[in-house]
């Protein structure tokens, strides 16, 4: 950065000098005097590091920001009815009821004289197709999810706003009509006292993942071997059950390796519910990998490779296995769990939880109710993972989110890694270019509002 700073100063000094020479050779009044040039150079020298420092912090902030899953519960399903009127709040409209307005157009000629003319123009009102539009939302502990907005009501033909205008087929299909099935199901779940889980990607800081030098990251040599054998699943991506919705709502966080059980949906539902409560209460996010024991010869090598793969920026970018993640690997022999490994997304913390998962899951039957549990928003169940994560039997195993800066919590945290997060050459080049552009504004300012206007009797010297 220091080299970039020196280059920016030299380029700015040179550019200012060239601009000055150019302006001196022109007949226009805009000039840069030598006093202005020196004064401008001092300003550039002092201001440029501030600009570059600010830009650097911005880029570092971007480099240390990653995505993690937050989990929560549905709270209520809400519906909004929008009454439509001409030029009103409704979105599905057409141009109607033309009217004339007089518009003034002005032009300025070469001599600086301005002339204006007034001409009539046709404008239109905006008329809705129907008398009301419906919007559907699901309120959750993670905030509001929009299911669909500005839909037509059921039987829109019976709600036509102006009887002489029918709704075009393309408008009808793009707007949708009636109550969306997804919203209705959520509404039914909430009404029956059994709300469903939701998940959402949120941003957070992680200096460990951003650092290229730390020894605290998981490294493994076997990623390629396991990947080519088809044993490394991809980390959970968003599933979008809401039509046309850009947000995630659910994500499958149970991964089967070498197994294809019939009741996969049951596992997905169980982990979704576990995560909903786990996220709401302890800000965690469980990912459960269930592998055929015969497919995994050396479980430690496999587990290291899996974690390293899921924290590989080239594979998952900003969506790598996050700080709040709990990764559990169980291998199944017959209908029993025979080996277990567990870890969190952080290199320290929650060791009691990890150890308890390893010792208590072994020997359990391959059943989501036994392994995960049947969590609801109101009650805990007897699932072993649930029991360990919440520390129901032993409070020392209760999951605790590990802090990154640890400003509020006290302690050292991982902020020491911030200093060694480096910018790549492309970022430094962008910073230098922006700093150079800002420095050029100084010359522009001196050229237009400089000394020769304050002291017009002086010549440039």
């Amino acid at each position: 950065m220091i080299i970039a700073y020196i280059l920016v100063i030299l380029c700015s000094a040179l550019s200012g000098w060239l601009v000055k020479l150019y302006l001196d050779a022109q007949p226009e009044e805009q000039k840069i005097t030598w006093t202005e040039y020196i004064f401008g150079l001092v300003i550039i020298v002092l201001v440029t590091p501030l600009v570059m420092y600010g830009m650097r912090n911005h880029f570092i902030q971007q480099k240390t920001t990653f995505n993690e899953w937050w989990n929560g519960w549905e709270v209520s399903a809400t519906r909004q009815t929008i009454a439509c009127e001409r030029d009103g709040p409704c979105r599905r409209t057409y141009s109607c009821d033309p009217y004339i307005v007089m518009v003034q157009h002005c032009t300025t000629d070469e001599d600086g004289d301005t002339s204006c003319t007034t001409t009539p123009e046709t404008r239109y009102h905006s008329c809705p197709y129907v008398t009301e539009e419906w919007s559907f939302y699901i309120e959750t502990t993670l905030g509001r999810f929009t299911v669909s907005e500005n839909r037509f009501p059921n039987s829109p033909d019976q709600h036509i706003w102006r009887s002489d205008n029918q709704i075009p087929a393309d408008v009808l299909s793009s707007a949708g009509q009636g109550i969306p099935a997804f919203w209705q199901e959520a509404s039914d779940r909430v009404a029956s006292g059994n709300p469903g889980p939701v998940t959402k990607r949120m941003q957070y800081k992680n200096y460990i993942l951003a650092s290229e030098h730390t020894i605290l990251k998981q490294y493994a040599e076997d990623i390629d071997a396991f990947k080519s054998a088809g044993l490394l699943p991809n980390l959970a991506m968003s599933t979008l059950p809401i039509p046309d919705c850009q947000e995630s709502y659910l994500a499958n966080k149970v991964y089967f390796v070498g197994l294809n059980p019939q009741n996969q949906q049951e596992w997905f539902d169980s982990i979704g519910r576990l995560n909903a409560e786990f996220g709401s209460e302890l800000q965690g996010d469980v990912h459960l990998v269930i592998a055929d024991s015969k497919a995994i010869e050396n479980i430690d090598r496999y587990f290291f490779a899996l974690k390293a793969y899921w924290q590989n920026p080239e594979a998952f970018g900003k969506n790598m296995l996050s700080k709040n993640a709990v990764l559990i690997l169980v291998t199944i022999d017959g209908d029993k769990v025979d080996r277990v490994r567990a870890s969190t997304g952080m290199p320290v913390g929650n060791e009691a939880m990890v150890t308890a998962l390893r010792s208590r899951l072994v020997g359990l039957s391959f059943d989501s109710k036994v392994i995960i549990g049947t969590v609801t928003s109101k009650n805990h169940s007897t699932g072993v993972i649930e029991s360990v994560l919440w520390g129901l039997d032993d409070k020392s195993t209760r999951f605790q989110r590990v802090c990154m800066d640890c400003i509020e919590e006290g302690g050292v945290g991982f902020s020491y890694l911030k200093k060694e997060i480096t910018l790549d050459n492309g970022d430094i080049a962008i910073i230098a270019i922006i700093a150079f552009v800002v420095s050029m504004l100084v010359w522009v300012a001196f050229a237009f509002i400089g000394e020769q206007y304050a002291y017009p009797w002086r010549d440039s010297y």
Binding site: Y37, T214, I215, V348, V412, Y416
Partner: protein, 208 residues
């Protein structure tokens, strides 16, 4: 006159940049040293908490002895590599060091104790790794760039702000840095590093 002005302007810039650079470096390095001090003490505190936690886990009222403390510390540092089962070496050592009346309670809670020791051992390894990472970070910052290395060396880093406290004794500067690098190793591990040879691990047998 004009040339002098330009030189003065550039001179101001260079001095400004140089002073900012020195102050930033000093501040960063002192912050790193303070963080190392805290982490070093925190790691010692972890070991201490582990021992007192063991008594709580085992359900036996104090009856602490230096011998038992040593056994527990050895366990968390990796002395009992073969495992912590009730017929293993660790259990035998703990029973020997414990008053006779406590053995039953120990047996009842052994599975829990076993998990406790394993997790604390893993936790201790993790925070030792973190301390090593912080030392790596500190050394890299001080030495990776030649100009910075010279400047920091002239400023006297590692400075007296770097403190390695061990009970009532305290070392500072380079000695403290070396002390922090002193990672606890088992006798077997030291022997293996010294000789370049390591025997295969043996399953521990109960001692009588």
């Amino acid at each position: 006159m004009i040339i002098l002005g330009v030189i003065a302007a550039l001179g101001i810039g260079i001095v400004f940049a140089f002073v900012s650079w020195l102050m930033g470096m000093y501040s960063t390095t002192v912050t790193m040293e303070r963080q190392l001090n805290s982490q070093y003490l925190s790691n010692q505190n972890y070991l201490s908490t582990y021992i007192s936690g063991f008594y709580e886990q085992s359900g036996v009222l104090v009856a602490q002895s230096d011998q038992l403390d040593r056994i527990l510390t050895d366990a968390v540092k990796g002395r009992y590599d073969g495992g912590f089962s009730a017929d293993g070496a660790l259990f035998s050592a703990v029973v020997e060091a414990y008053p006779e009346a406590s053995t039953t309670a120990l047996l009842q809670n052994w599975s829990k104790i076993q998990d406790y020791i394993v997790s604390q051992r893993e936790g201790y390894k993790n925070i030792q790794d973190k301390l090593l990472d912080m030392l790596r970070n500190y050394d890299t910052y001080r030495t990776a760039e030649p100009l910075r290395a010279i400047a920091l060396s002239i400023m006297g880093f590692p400075s007296k702000n770097l403190e390695a406290r061990l009970g009532t004794t305290m070392t500072t500067g380079e000695v403290a840095r070396n002390q922090m690098y002193l990672i606890v190793l088992t006798k077997d591990a030291i022997k293996a590093y010294e000789s370049g040879v390591m025997d295969p691990l043996k399953v521990p047998t109960p001692t009588k």
